[in-house]
């Protein structure tokens, strides 16, 4: 199995637009032009192939009709590859694929943009509103874990966005529900694109589901929405019921997301000192230590986290605590200590998580710094 060398006379055609063939070509000598109509301008374009360049790759590998006519301008020598032969060659010369990926990614970017400009009717959602609506959808459909994720991402990107206040409140709701009822329905199976909505439940929004979309789930579905999930009305009630402590806590979290660390620190401190709720007290203490890091009070940060870790040896956010301690050491110029901790974080992870990734990144950066 080896590619075939083919000679073409000037003015001959290697392939016509619309032909289907799985051959990929490499120009060895001579001159070949690819002629096609640009889909945007409608103009005829002549692309000259340089020696050593491949052509017919997309249509050959993808087995799509040729999009251009390959015209031989001067007597030329080309190599014709089958997809298998091309793959064999590329496996040994990864650079070929890397180069092609760059070319194709540029093409993809261009065509993607062209499509977007034509999609006027497909109401272009602005990303901020779009992200917010995803959270809204999952909250409404009682998939609290997913709602929480979307809302939290929102706050990451738009800490002072127009929905930030609302999102902060909704995070409180969603966390409450997650702790009470679990994360809610897991990812819906393909056959069940829309999670359950109970018929007796007051429906806040009009159900705009077209007839073709199943809007219910068999009551016996094992992984559906937990039966104890609150109704829409109860949801409103629960918000009102939410403890002042929780509300205060999330207001403080919102300050963190706005990078107002000093204000956040003070707000968390108030919660801790009030001592009204142990759970939120512990959470607040943890967040205070993080604020100290952002306030560049590295010694205090290390001290706070050490005390937290001593108090709660099985703290669920142990890795994050260690990470901030390590980062503090790093900022203080104690690279050896920091490195040791980063390594520890990386090894203690049963499963990968963002902290481990950040620790790895930090380690890598430190190693890079030494070189």
């Amino acid at each position: 199995m080896s590619p075939k060398a083919v000679q073409y006379r000037a003015n001959s055609i290697i392939y016509f637009k619309g032909d289907t063939s799985d051959r990929v070509y490499l120009l060895n000598s001579g001159k070949v032009s690819l002629n096609y109509i640009d889909i945007e301008s409608g103009q005829e374009v002549h692309d000259l192939i340089k020696m050593g360049e491949f052509f017919g790759v997309k249509s050959g590998l993808g087995r799509y009709p040729r999009e251009e006519t390959a015209v031989v301008l001067q007597d030329s020598g080309v190599m014709a590859f089958t997809p298998a032969e091309f793959e064999q060659l590329a496996a040994k010369n990864t650079r070929i694929i890397t180069k092609m990926l760059k070319v194709f990614s540029n093409q993809l970017r261009r065509i993607h943009r062209q499509v977007q400009t034509l999609l006027v009717s497909d109401a272009q959602e602005n990303p901020e509103t779009g992200l917010y609506k995803i959270g809204e959808y999952y909250l409404k459909n009682k998939r609290y874990g997913q709602a929480l994720h979307a809302y939290k991402r929102y706050l990451v990107y738009y800490p002072s966005g127009s929905y930030a206040g609302d999102v902060t409140n909704k995070i409180v709701q969603a966390e409450e529900f997650v702790s009470r009822y679990g994360a809610g329905g897991p990812a819906a199976a393909a056959s069940r694109p829309v999670p359950a909505r109970r018929p007796e439940e007051p429906q806040e929004a009009p159900s705009g589901a077209p007839s073709g979309v199943p809007s219910g789930v068999p009551s016996g579905a094992p992984s559906g929405v937990p039966s104890g999930a609150p109704s829409e009305a109860a949801l409103q009630e629960k918000t009102a019921e939410l403890s002042d402590t929780a509300q205060a806590y999330y207001n403080a979290v919102s300050l963190v997301s706005q990078e107002k660390y000093l204000d956040a620190f003070k707000a968390f401190k108030k919660i801790l000192e009030a001592g009204a709720d142990q759970e939120y007290g512990a959470k607040a203490e943890f967040e205070m230590a993080k604020c100290l890091f952002h306030l560049k009070q590295y010694d205090n940060c290390v001290r706070s986290f050490s005390s937290i870790v001593q108090k709660y040896p099985k703290h669920p956010d142990m890795r994050e605590a260690l990470f901030f301690v390590a980062r503090s050491y790093e900022e203080k110029g104690e690279g050896a200590k920091a490195g040791g901790l980063f390594k520890k974080i990386v090894t203690m992870a049963g499963e990968d998580d963002p902290i481990v990734r950040r620790a790895r990144k930090a380690l890598k950066a430190m190693e890079g710094g030494k070189a």
């Binding site: 590329a90 694929i97 993607h112 009717s121 979307a150 991402r153 073709g212 990968d352």
Partner: protein, 217 residues
Amino acid sequence: MSPAPDLSMFNRFMVTFRKGDIIFCEYEPGDTFYLIQSGRVQIVRIIGDIEKNIDILYPGEVFGEMAILEEAPRSATTIALDEVKALEFNRENFEVLMMGNPAIAMKLLKLFIKRIYDQKRRFMILTLGDMEARVADVFLMLAENQSIDTSAVDSIDFKTTVDDMAHWAGVPTAQTREALNHFVAQRRIELHPDRIVVKNINDFARFVNSRRKHQEK
């Protein structure tokens, strides 16, 4: 291609998602893409009040690949249907991946080829000024995607909905429904809740071609 390339050298890029976890949200800026090692990933879009299933991906498949092109917002939400283990890549470690594993590079190359083709096809639909022609052209595109030889068959049963058609045609749903109803009245299609039967696909091909030619003049 070997079915299971040895990827142990990439273990440091391994990430795990719990069942039900959102991997990324539509509209989020993205700079990472994933190669599934185990578990299934569901791709959804929330359109109005409906979560629409776009696709379900299995081990060996890549998603989020548009991220290495530009930091455009994600175009869909991805959810772990099982516990999912995936290799996570970004623009920085992308080259390492490509150099270290030509099989993955080839897979990505083919994926790009398909994406370019799909986008071009979509572009062709959107350039049609006549809304009914657009809807008809979506049927032709769906037939091409299923590798149906339209010269050999007439009637085709498409597992598609009005919303799907509207999405591809870039036409508001109400207008798409109108166009489809018109086709029903002309006995060119049968409209069912979960499928649409096109009675004579070649008739649509002629219709679309004539509109396209007419437009070029």
